[in-house]
Assembly symmetry: C2
Homo-oligomer: 77 residues x 2
């Protein structure tokens, strides 16, 4: 697997707890600009699980989709 560097630059909170916790953090990958990162982690952050990194705009769009998820599309965009 390709070598990569990451740094949790800001912990925003635990989404759910378990053997692994699902968390929202700001993570910088390979010294790049930090992105919002939704991912499962070992509680001590020693191991990471699957997840996804999103930009500010992508997070805003995700929240918009969530807030309108029950609305019928009255018109096609």
């Amino acid at each position: 697997m390709a070598e990569f560097k990451y740094e949790i630059t800001q912990e925003l909170g635990v989404i759910s707890e378990g053997k692994y916790n699902i968390e929202l953090n700001m993570v910088s990958w390979n010294d790049r600009e930090p992105k919002y990162d939704i991912r499962s982690w070992a509680p001590d952050h020693s191991r990471m699980g699957k997840g996804i990194s999103l930009t500010e705009e992508e997070m805003e769009r995700l929240v918009e989709l969530w807030n309108t998820r029950n609305e019928e599309d009255s018109f096609e965009e």
Copy 2:
């Protein structure tokens, strides 16, 4: 890799477009109850990328963390 079945039971929208699109969908894994799924996909859904599945409660918690991300913790829970 372990064999698994999935079905996109509801398409909730595209978060961002690219070679792969990041999307919010409801996905049922191995015939289980569908979960909210934030993931990159080939535009024709022929291939899936990395992502994460969240329950309704986990999505609500994620949105709550997002909405309060700039608030200083006035007190430790």
